[in-house]
């Protein structure tokens, strides 16, 4: 099957700094893939290369099986039929909501009836029917975001790009809008490439996540796979506030460096210099002493409603744990990890 988006050996250098290094990426039709990474990892650059707002130094970009960049092709952004929800929404302030939505349709010289029908549909699905004649400045942040989405939906793009569309919103609104936005995208079945640096957001919206590091994809997989089996220490460190405890693995056992614990049994098969991935929610109070336990000193505690978030010092490492109560700072704490939860990654 032809991928809706295909990037091959895509490279880009800004100044002296390589931003993308021969990157490959395929996105299937109707799929939502998130580019997740820290600042400078190249995720926004990749998004803009796909949109055509930046030009690659090398490589090829194909949309719907047609090469839009590379091998002699250079289709400008206005001909790619790609839509983007910008971080600042980029709503044109001098146009009404309807004006924003039908701008691209008029540029494409669609028939007036078709334009009216598409605008009406876009307003309907985004529940903006009552706001068509308003200007962006007369709308709330959430409504503005819906206009940005409606504008993209009306264009019926082959590919929809999201450039950190929730980063300007407060935490409470962000979750509501994320759910609403992705419901619309799913309902319309639009192939999407989504950029964020927020792993929780990435987990919530994606079919697959591409964790990016220094212009390359460190791991590309389904959210639950990345969560349960991060490819390496970098991915593990970037996802979910996991903590890493360096040590040695041999014959199904992990020994923390500095003798911080007795050997821990693990189902992982990795051997040699490794790090133990400790997911905060995986730790449990000790029920049977001496079984897969770790001991450390409580450095800090913070009440988080469902549990306490503790930071515990184990040898030279700091480990984050979710704990049912709040032990005193400086007290000693022993916790256990089941062998299945003792995930190892290469150091």
């Amino acid at each position: 099957m032809t991928a809706a988006l295909s990037c091959r050996a895509l490279s880009k250098q800004l100044g002296d700094r390589p931003v993308l290094r021969a990157l490959d990426l395929d996105v299937a039709s109707g799929e939502v893939v998130t580019l997740l990474g820290a600042s400078g990892s190249g995720k926004t650059t990749l998004l803009r290369l796909v949109a055509g707002l930046l030009t690659p130094d090398r490589g090829r970009v194909s949309i719907g099986g047609v090469t839009v960049w590379g091998a002699g092709a250079a289709v400008p952004p206005e001909r790619r039929r790609v839509a983007m929800v910008f971080q600042d929404y980029a709503l044109w302030p001098h146009l009404t909501v309807e004006g924003n939505i039908d701008f691209g349709l008029k540029a494409a010289r669609l028939a007036p009836q078709e334009i009216v029908a598409r605008v009406r549909h876009a307003l309907e699905v985004t529940q903006l029917g009552a706001f068509g004649l308003r200007y962006p400045s007369e709308l709330s942040g959430g409504q503005q975001q819906r206009v940005a989405i409606a504008r993209c939906l009306a264009a019926r793009p082959r590919l929809m790009l999201f450039d950190e569309p929730l980063s300007n919103l407060d935490a409470a609104l962000r979750e509501d809008l994320r759910t609403e936005m992705m419901a619309l995208v799913r309902a319309e079945g639009i192939t999407s490439l989504y950029v964020t640096h927020d792993q929780a957001e990435a987990m919530a919206v994606s079919d697959r996540i591409a964790v990016m590091r220094e212009g390359a994809i460190a791991q590309l997989d389904r959210p639950e796979v990345i969560y349960r089996a991060p490819a390496d220490a970098f991915v593990a460190g970037f996802i979910g506030g996991f903590s890493l405890l360096p040590g040695l693995a041999h014959a199904g056992e992990f020994m923390a460096l500095g003798g911080a614990s007795a050997p821990l049994r693990t189902t992982a098969t990795l051997v040699g210099d490794v790090s133990l991935v400790i997911r905060p929610e995986d730790v449990r109070p000790v029920t049977a002493p001496g079984v897969n336990t770790l001991t450390g000193r409580v450095l800090s505690r913070a009440y988080q409603g469902r549990c306490w978030r503790l930071v515990v010092a184990i040898a030279d490492s700091k480990v984050r744990l979710d704990w049912p109560d709040g032990p005193d700072v400086s007290s000693e704490l022993t916790f256990s990890l089941t062998p299945e939860n003792c995930t190892l990654v290469a150091r």
Binding site: G65, V68, M84, A90
Partner: protein
């Protein structure tokens, strides 16, 4: 699929490197060179060449000699400036005057800014308008109005408000300092008001919580933080006074107090014309101004960095209690001396038969005003000419600046910094120097003399002069507006299929329309009241209003001169006000006026 077909169609119709919007394209490169060449040509013709010819005069004095033209290097004219007492004293007088006024105007502007922005002074809204009124009144009108007020038999003498020694001393350095100070205080007012607005109360709060009393807070915290703004004001006022032609050709001329700008005017226009001397003086003046402007730029950067950072709380307003009425009296006093008296004198004189008979009923007449409003009258002709010239120049300057801005915003590598540098430098060029350059270029240089448009002695050259003087301001205003547009707005339009024409017409232009209008109005008002260009480039068809006003005062027909001034101000106010209201109604939703105002403050300069 429709989409795929469209993409395929786009690919199939595309030849190699045919997308002009893409970097690296041969067409884009060629188009870029062509556009850059045109931009360079505009600046060379309007600013660089005229200015260059003026400066070359200092070293090649025989270049335009009617009898023995030659290109021999001879800095004798330059040496003459420092050897001839009259010329040397013009330089020293200018420097002395500029130094004194810069201190006085900065002090007054700072005090006024503090009063209206940091205290609970009554009538604040009214008082805030005063600096703008003063700023928009041309310098020569202020000069002429003070002649009406302070001359022997003038209005203040008639009311017994002017002791004889004060009247005698007015027409000299003291009077010039006084009028300049009350004319130019808006400049420091704008700068310091902006600095005070950027000085959040958190600095003061922190100092007070550290045990400092109010006096110490101002001495150790606020004033040091405001120091760059003060330095900026001193420099800006200094440069303004050095470049001024309005008071130099009115009060200073009447007082026999020689100043550089008027000296250049005399050398370039009085018989026998001495271009070499005018060029040498222009070079000295320009060097003095440019050195100051460079210092200004340096300080402006520092000031911005210091004052913008860390501001999070609004500025503190001091409750003065009953003393606020004393503060109001001070502010009203400033308003009286800077606006009410000068404009009042012009209005009074416009409605009087003679100055000597004062403000009596029998002396009251509307004849001058009616004549100024009569279409066939020479003064009205001058006004109409001015409105047409200024309107044409402002429209062309705004159009050129818009086109240049769109192009320059796309090319941020070389042309943008170069053109911005030239524009900001050109802001500092005294009008008299540029006007002189236009005479040299279009009247003396072979190849330029025979052009149908512009032609020396024709209104087209005056209009070109107005454009040359206004273009740098227009460019700074519009380029800043274009630069403030988030790139995502045009990126979004591109992704929705809009080509560059549609993006420009439907996205960019509507969003910068209010700034383009601002640039147009600024150029229009500036050009209507522009004196040095109007004086040196008088068209054969008749003078513009500023020349006519000066001429009427010179031949002691102050009534007609005042009436023309009044009608000109009213006409400009009505036209500009109407255009602004229309523009606000049409485009007001699209842009925030605050950045426009800030840009105006940054490029503020009193006309003439």
């Amino acid at each position: 699929m429709t989409t795929v077909d469209q993409v395929r169609a786009a690919v199939s119709t595309r030849g190699p490197n045919a997308w002009t919007g893409l970097p690296g394209s041969v067409v884009a490169l060629f188009g870029g060179w062509l556009a850059n060449g045109l931009i360079a040509l505009v600046f060379v013709l309007l600013i660089v060449l005229p200015l260059g010819l003026v400066l070359v005069q200092a070293f090649v004095p025989m270049m335009f000699d009617p009898l023995h033209p030659g290109l021999t290097f001879d800095p004798q004219s330059l040496a003459r400036i420092f050897g001839e007492p009259r010329l040397m004293s013009a330089i020293l007088n200018s420097l002395l005057l500029a130094g004194t006024v810069s201190i006085a105007a900065t002090t007054l502007g700072a005090a006024y800014a503090f009063a209206v922005h940091r205290t609970n002074v009554p009538m604040r809204s009214l008082l805030l308008g005063v600096p703008w009124l003063v700023f928009l009144t041309p310098a020569y009108l202020k000069g002429l109005s003070w002649v009406l007020l302070m001359s022997n038999g003038g209005y203040l003498s008639q009311f017994g408000l002017l002791p004889a020694p004060l009247a005698a001393g007015f027409f000299g350095p003291a009077g010039l300092v006084f009028v300049h100070t009350f004319s130019l205080f808006p400049l420091p007012f704008f700068v310091i008001a902006a600095a005070l607005a950027g000085l959040g109360s958190e600095f003061e709060d922190a100092a007070r919580l550290s045990g400092a009393r109010l006096g110490r807070v101002w001495l150790r915290i606020n004033l040091p933080l405001l120091a760059p703004a003060f330095a900026l004001c001193l420099i800006a006022v200094y440069a303004e006074v050095l470049s001024d032609f309005g008071l130099a050709s009115t009060i200073a001329r009447v007082s026999g107090f020689g100043l550089m700008t008027y000296s250049i005017y005399v050398a370039a226009s009085a018989y026998p014309v001495d271009f070499a001397l005018a060029g040498s003086q222009a070079l000295v003046l320009l060097l003095l101004v440019v050195a100051l402007v460079l210092a200004d730029r340096l300080l402006r950067r520092q000031a911005a960095a210091r004052l913008i950072s860390g501001r999070s709380r609004p500025a503190r307003i001091y409750d003065l209690g009953p003393y606020r009425w004393l503060m109001a009296a001070f502010c009203l006093g400033v308003a009286l001396l800077s606006v009410v008296l000068p404009l009042g004198a012009i209005v009074a004189r416009a409605f009087s038969r003679t100055l000597a008979d004062g403000l009596t009923l029998s002396n009251l007449t509307s004849d001058s005003l009616l004549e100024a409003l009569t279409v066939s009258h020479p003064s009205n002709q001058a006004l109409l000419r001015s409105l047409v010239y200024a309107g044409t120049a402002a429209a062309l300057a705004a159009v050129i600046a818009t086109v240049l801005s769109l192009r320059l915003d796309a090319d941020r590598r070389i042309m943008r910094p170069v053109v911005l540098g030239v524009s900001l430098g050109a802001v500092a060029i005294p009008g008299i120097v540029l006007a002189f350059g236009y005479i040299l270029l279009w009247n003396r240089v072979p190849g330029f003399r025979g052009w149908p448009l512009p032609r020396y002695g024709d209104a087209s050259l005056l209009v070109l002069g107005y454009i040359g003087a206004a273009l740098p301001y227009c460019l700074v205003i519009i380029l800043t507006a274009v630069g403030q547009l988030a790139p995502s707005l045009t990126d979004a339009a591109r992704l929705h299929g809009a080509g560059w024409k549609r993006r420009t017409v439907q996205i960019i232009l509507p969003l910068v329309a209010l700034s383009v209008t601002t640039a147009f109005l600024f150029s229009f008002i500036r050009s209507v009241f522009e004196l040095p260009m109007s004086q040196l480039l008088v068209p054969i068809s008749g003078p513009a209003a500023p020349s006519e006003i000066i001429h009427m005062f010179a031949k002691e027909d102050e009534g007609m001169g005042s009436a023309l001034s009044l009608v000109t101000m009213l006409a400009v106010g009505l036209v500009a006000g109407a255009i602004w209201l229309l523009a606000r109604a049409a485009f007001g939703r699209r842009t925030d006026p605050a950045p426009v105002k800030a840009r105006l403050l940054a490029t503020v300069e009193s006309p003439a």
